[in-house]
């Protein structure tokens, strides 16, 4: 009898332990394995895309790289898991990936009922429409009765329904698993319009057989704040992801680039000195090395550099900064101060 008692209490103890142990579990696991497992999109030029050698690049990929740089002082300590829109949350919930950086819209439902935390916004987007030029459509309001190619499991699906309902128009949704299939079907003429976040429309247009035959309509029908996501329950890990992004935005605001970061080390500006780990709280609050932000800037660059390189003038997408300019330059990108 005694033996059974001992076994029973041991089982109960392990049960409690195993359920309590996951506070801080992600960070511990990431440190232990020595790399960040990052969920990205399967292939979206400018945001996350792999070249023929399997090297990933893009605005979303840079967030993963920034976290790795902050944690391991090496931006290359990232492994990527390409995910469809449908798979992404389950992958994060189940712990298959440590963080998700995959043009994911921040909404109340997702933040409150999926067990996720949104760590910030790395791209302010809105939903738009792409149509073939020969349709002669100038505005989304002329699209009554049209068919739309959409990707399954996105806020796009919901916004489209809302927009047509509130404007008393009819539409036919044709829903696909991946954005690649969506583009192929649009190219084959299955639908009159392709709808997605505007940034994606420009990226997907490149994949069309004849990119010049399609045009993006001016209407933006929704707010799509896109950002990195972590699983709920590990606040330390969440803060590292959050502040890695903030460090990139702050660096741009202070004019620190991957080129001049070494020179800025000797700067007298206390703001710069705090960001680069010369004074103030440095890395101790986040449990990181003091040069965490300097490593991000050195290896990944500031937010502006990352933007221009991946989706802006330095890329084939040529997207203007617009809402994604810094707050003091007419945009929405704003990061809390490092002090």
């Amino acid at each position: 009898m005694k033996k059974i008692h001992v076994i029973a209490s041991a089982v109960a103890l392990t049960a409690t332990l195993s359920t309590n142990a996951f506070a801080g579990a992600t960070l511990d696991a990431v440190k232990k394995k020595g790399f960040v497992q990052c969920g990205v999109s399967i292939g979206l030029p400018g945001f996350s895309n792999a070249d023929e050698k399997g090297n990933w690049s893009g605005l979303d990929v840079d967030v993963c790289r920034a976290v790795a740089a902050a944690l391991f002082a090496d931006a290359n300590m990232v492994k990527y898991t390409p995910l469809t829109a449908k798979e992404r949350f389950t992958a994060l919930q189940s712990g298959e990936i440590d963080m998700l950086s995959r043009n994911t819209t921040w909404t109340l439902t997702r933040d409150s009922s999926l067990g996720l935390n949104f760590a910030g916004v790395n791209y302010y987007d809105g939903q738009g429409f792409m149509v073939t030029k020969k349709l002669g459509v100038k505005s989304a309001l002329e699209l009554d009765g049209a068919s739309f190619c959409i990707q399954a499991g996105t806020t796009t699906e919901l916004n489209l329904a809302d927009y047509f309902r509130s404007n008393n128009m009819k539409y036919t949704p044709v829903t696909f698993d991946t954005s690649d299939e969506t583009v192929k079907a649009f190219d084959a003429g299955r639908c009159d319009a392709l709808t997605s976040d505007q940034s994606q429309l420009y990226a997907l247009r490149i994949k069309l057989g004849n990119p010049d035959g399609a045009t993006v309509l001016p209407e933006v029908i929704s707010k799509e704040p896109l950002g990195p996501v972590t699983a709920q329950g590990d606040d330390e890990w969440y803060k590292i992801v959050r502040w890695s992004l903030f460090a990139m935005v702050n660096a741009e605001e202070m004019g620190i680039t991957s080129g001049n970061v070494d020179a800025k080390m000797s700067s007298d500006d206390p703001n710069v000195r705090r960001l680069l780990g010369q004074e103030g709280i440095k890395g101790s609050g986040l449990g990181l090395a003091d040069g965490w932000a300097a490593n991000i800037i050195k290896q990944v660059g500031n937010y502006g550099e990352s933007f221009e390189r991946n989706v802006g003038q330095g890329s084939s997408l040529k997207i203007a900064r617009g809402q994604n300019a810094l707050w003091n330059k007419g945009g929405l990108q704003y990061a809390p101060p490092i002090r």
Binding site: A15, T19, S113, G115, D144, A146, E157, P173, R190, D192
Partner: protein
């Protein structure tokens, strides 16, 4: 009695825990309790962990408004219906494609299976080529092939291929007029019902008469006459209570009428042709299992080749074919979930896809989806087992 006698012959009654019967029952109970506890622990752990991670649980989401549209629905649906309704929509779409797929695959399979055994060289070679090609290419590739093969060459809706101003074929699908039933159409349906019931009785009577007297009756002609004639009479009597809703070309798409969407067509073609190749082999094996002596005997009795096949070979071959056919039907039903690759809104695409993603309740949604496939497969399996039993050789 037997137990008592054995007990008497033994020197002494063994202790309770040494008796084999008691032991075996004890260990069986222990096993059941163990499995039960294991399942319960997994269930509780999952619930606890989901709660601790702030993930909503329960089936309350089924009553929430879905807020997204679906391409093809067999029941009324729009954005204001619930997630529960999306489940029904997906389920019906799955049943539709599985049902049609089973029908066409069986048709193709029997034709090709018989054709492969044909004494005509070209027919049997063609059947062989069909079977070997389609059986050996992955189904997903075939689905994608048919989808784009169907889609690419077809014109846009404004350049539709038009037949008789009634049928419009474009890359949006095949549009055709849909029937609108007016008052009095019930009598036509009633007449059809009566005709079918009467046909069954006539067929039975004719069969009995032939067995008793050897006299033949033109059952087929009578039945055709009844099934067409009676409803037609009712239709005329009620003053043709049926009109058609014709599809009309609008700015982007056709409106009105019925449509067969290209996704359904592609999926159906791929599933039927793929599964048909397997069924053809099952049919061939069944026919070859019937000894050639049967054919010779039938020929000796003066039966023509067609009658030999229909009356002698097939009934015996079915006994071999049915169990394999059951597996193929189950495969087809489960394979229909590949629909999600080409955007056909089946259960997996709609419910285990969009609904899962919008609500985030993976455990509940996947459990429901699995339960549905299990239920469909078990029903098919039960039906086929019943049919198999019915046609089994009755030994005298």
């Amino acid at each position: 009695m037997a137990d008592e006698q054995r007990a008497v012959s033994l020197p002494a009654k063994p202790a309770l825990w040494r008796r084999p019967a008691v032991r075996s029952i004890f260990f069986q109970i222990l096993l059941v309790v163990g499995i039960g506890y294991f399942g319960y622990t997994i269930f509780q752990n999952t619930l606890n962990n989901l709660e601790q991670r702030g993930i909503s649980t329960g089936f309350g989401f089924l009553d929430q408004e879905a807020g997204f549209g679906i391409l093809m629905t067999l029941v009324p649906f729009d954005e204001t219906y619930t997630y529960g309704r999306t489940f029904l929509v997906g389920l019906l779409n799955t049943l539709l494609v599985a049902g049609l797929g089973i029908f066409f695959a069986t048709l193709i399979g029997f034709m090709m299976g018989v054709a492969r055994l044909s004494s005509n060289w070209i027919i049997s070679r063609l059947a062989t080529v069909y079977i070997e090609v389609f059986r050996n290419i992955p189904l997903l590739l075939q689905i994608l092939f048919w989808y784009f093969a169907v889609l690419r060459p077809l014109p846009g809706p404004r350049q539709s291929l038009i037949l008789n101003d009634t049928f419009y074929l474009s890359n949006r699908g095949l549009y055709m007029p849909s029937p609108v039933y007016e008052q009095g159409f019930w009598l036509v349906m009633l007449a059809l019902g009566v005709a079918i019931v009467a046909s069954i009785f006539i067929a039975r009577w004719a069969h009995k008469r032939q067995e008793a007297t050897g006299q033949q009756f033109h059952t087929v002609l009578t039945v055709i006459g009844l099934v067409i004639g009676l409803p037609l009479l009712a239709f005329l009597v009620m003053g043709m209570p049926l009109s058609w809703d014709f599809p009309v070309l609008q700015r982007f798409n056709m409106a009105g009428g019925m449509v067969i969407i290209p996704e359904l067509a592609a999926l159906l073609v791929a599933l039927s042709i793929y599964t048909g190749a397997f069924i053809a082999e099952a049919v061939r094996s069944g026919i070859l299992a019937v000894s050639h002596g049967q054919t010779e005997a039938a020929h000796a009795l003066g039966l023509r080749p067609g009658s030999t096949l229909r009356l002698v070979i097939i009934p015996q071959a079915l006994r071999v074919i049915i169990p394999q056919l059951t597996s193929q039907y189950l495969n087809l039903t489960k394979n229909s979930s590949l629909a999600t690759a080409i955007g056909y809104p089946d259960l997996v695409a709609v419910f285990a896809g969009t609904t899962l993603n919008q609500t985030g309740q993976a455990v509940e949604v996947i459990a429901m989806t699995m339960a549905v496939y299990l239920a469909i497969s078990l029903s098919i399996s039960m039906f086929m087992n019943w049919y198999n039993k019915r046609i089994q050789l009755v030994e005298r």
